[in-house]
Amino acid sequence: MILLILLLVPFVGLVGQPLSSVNPAARRTMETANLAAFGITFVLSLVLAAQVLASGPVSLWSGFLYADSLSALVCLLTASVALVCSVYAVGYLREDERSGAFDQEGDTAAAKLRKYYSLTPLFVFAMLLVALANNLGLMWVAIEGTTLASVFLVTFYGKRTSLEAAWKYAMIGGVGLAMALFGTVLAYYAGHRLPASDTIGGLNWSVLAGHAASLDKTTMRLAFILALLGYGTKAGLAPMHTWKPDAYSEAPVPAAAILSSAMLNCALYGLIRFYILTSRCLGPQFPGGLLLIFGMLSMGISVPFILVQRNFRRLLAYHTIDHAGIMVTALGVGGKLASLALMLHMTYHTVAKSLLFLCAGNVSQHFKTDLFDKVKGGVIRVMPVTGAVFLMAMLAIIGMPPFSLFQSEFLILRAAFAGGHYLATALFVLFGTGIFAGALLHVGSLVLGPSDEAPVAVLRPWRDYSMLTLAVVLVVIGFWLPVPLLDLIRGAARVVTGD
């Protein structure tokens, strides 16, 4: 029952939509509805995680909706990001309205607010459905749903560049997901000799995973390749990554934060489900090898783009491509240690990457640009809080030791080395160093240094407190993971290894 309620709660955010002009009362209704919806979603995803920890997988309607530790973890991460971003969005959108960013092109300010507050609940609903749908076909429908719900978030500002970004996003995503749909059809065919395969449960992941050894091997091989290309496109793996920097730099910042962390998790989630089926059917070598190739390619391609990047939101996007590559590499290495590292990395990356986007949002709202040369450094003097957090989050995401991402990346490397993937390990370190240098150089020169501007004294509560909360979380999980969360992560890793 909790699964159904969890899915339906985001729709609370659609309350109070009729709004013709921006009047404070109507705007407050929308903000409250949005916050309430995501607040409840967060609490419910905690309850779901607790239930899964206490009594194993939860299912509804004879397995139509199904949540094991992996789904519960992805739900929890999605809900947390959605909540933080909805708090941030209140401040961000008010600031945009004040500074006149809404009045430039496209719709009126009221229409833009309505667009943001009605699309984000649909977007979050689709992401939760990805994690909770047991049926692989329904999971595909939900992933396609995340694209459709977020296209108009990318065109939010109605500029020429946002249309271009949205077009690339929709078309590349559409083609990619068409491949994933073909992969899903083939996975269904691979199981057509199983008993009761023609019923509604025939495409249920839990059923297929139970009989994975008797799936048709040739078909499953082709199905995995198509699913990898399809969901890989959605996760932004190279060479299907070209939509990513555009979409992330054009969407309003809170939406970009959701895209780069929660939606990436959802795409990887689809890939992980297919990986589990395939590795149980064909053994881990075949899917693992393919995943390693795509992982290395994504990490490698992001290096030069990070080194020469001039726009800091695009820099973060290439970082996400790199981290998608890291997670896919961890999945490809396989085994207990790498799976655990994958789930840890997913958790840490979600926190750090959404935090980075929130910082970048503060900077770009203040300086009214996303370009390094126009900001000219000295952010830490103009905006002390944002600057400090930005630098800290950047250190965290490039894997500096006191922070958590160092642990997970180190675990992945250890697992890869122990598994005999020497070339992959070497490349991992090489690319990691390049990204480390590039990102640190850029963000260092952005944040540090002198500035002639007067410091901003006022704290913008909605924006800054949501950012600070996330920053505290990032620091804390570097040293201490709550035991239930660690259990959930371990459970999710066990789902991947299957014991």
Binding site: N135, G137, L138, W140, V141, E144, G145, L148, V151, F152, T155, G158, R160, T161, L163, E164, A165, A166, W167, K168, A170, M171, G174, V175, A178, L181, F182, T184, V185, L186, Y188, Y189, H192, D198, T199, I200, G202, L203, T218, T219, L222, P245, D246, S249, E250, F305, V308, Q309, R310, R314
Partner: protein
């Protein structure tokens, strides 16, 4: 219904298979016609006809294999892909007021040769699904590999069309025809997916057409063109 059951050839599965293969061949012909056809409106109509044929294939499979749930998919295909989507697209063409011909990147004769080549590739892939030595197959896979090969060709040619076209609207059409290939594969391999999934997919296709339609309209309004090769401000 009773009357139909007395007609011999409607009961003969071998005849059914031939009819289905024939219709599948027409689907492929229409796909290649789309590659060669330069008028946008004609392209939309060819797509509508192709979807209609798909629905007919689905209905035939439902009839000869006594799988009544496929009828629903057939009806949905007619309603959404053969009627609603073409109407929406034609209205969009009217609104953006573009009746220019499609300007493919590779010229038409070469495009058709490439489509032929892709069909060969598709037959090779489909071959791996065909195991005649395993004895007479029962169930969905018995349909033979011709229909599957057609499905994969339609899918691949759809891909090629996406790459080969510059105008936003024609790319949408290519994406839709590619999806038709997947539908055909699903129908002939597994008698379609479970109904709820099928409904979800139809819903997604419809929403995608609406979303992409709005985007095409906005691109046309803003750039005064539908040429997506003009969308190149975002780099690096």
């Amino acid at each position: 219904m009773h009357l139909l059951q007395n007609i011999d050839f409607l009961q003969d599965p071998e005849f059914g298979e031939k009819v289905i293969t024939l219709m599948a061949a027409f689907v492929l012909v229409l796909q290649i016609a789309m590659v060669g056809q330069r008028s946008l409106i004609m392209n939309i109509r060819v797509f509508g006809t192709q979807s209609f044929l798909l629905a007919a294939i689905a209905a035939a499979i439902a009839w000869y294999n006594h799988a009544p749930h496929i009828y629903i998919a057939a009806v949905m295909t007619v309603l959404i892909k053969a009627i609603l989507v073409p109407i929406l697209l034609e209205r969009l063409v009217d609104r953006v007021d573009i009746r220019h011909e499609i300007e493919p990147i590779v010229n038409t004769p070469l495009s058709i040769v490439i489509s032929g080549g892709l069909t060969l590739v598709a037959y090779t892939v489909a071959e791996s699904f065909y195991h005649p030595e395993a004895g007479p197959q029962t169930g969905p896979a018995s349909l033979g590999h011709n229909t599957l090969a057609v499905a994969i060709s339609v899918f691949l040619i759809g891909f090629f069309m996406m790459i080969n076209r510059r105008k936003a609207l024609t790319q949408v059409l290519a994406l839709l025809s590619l999806e038709n290939g997947i539908f055909l594969a699903a129908i002939c391999l597994t008698y379609g997916m479970p109904l709820i999934v099928e409904l979800g997919v139809f819903f997604d296709v419809l929403v995608a057409v609406l979303v992409l339609g709005i985007l095409v309209y906005q691109i046309r309004e803003t750039f005064d063109s539908m040429d997506v090769s003009k969308l190149r401000r975002l780099r690096g």
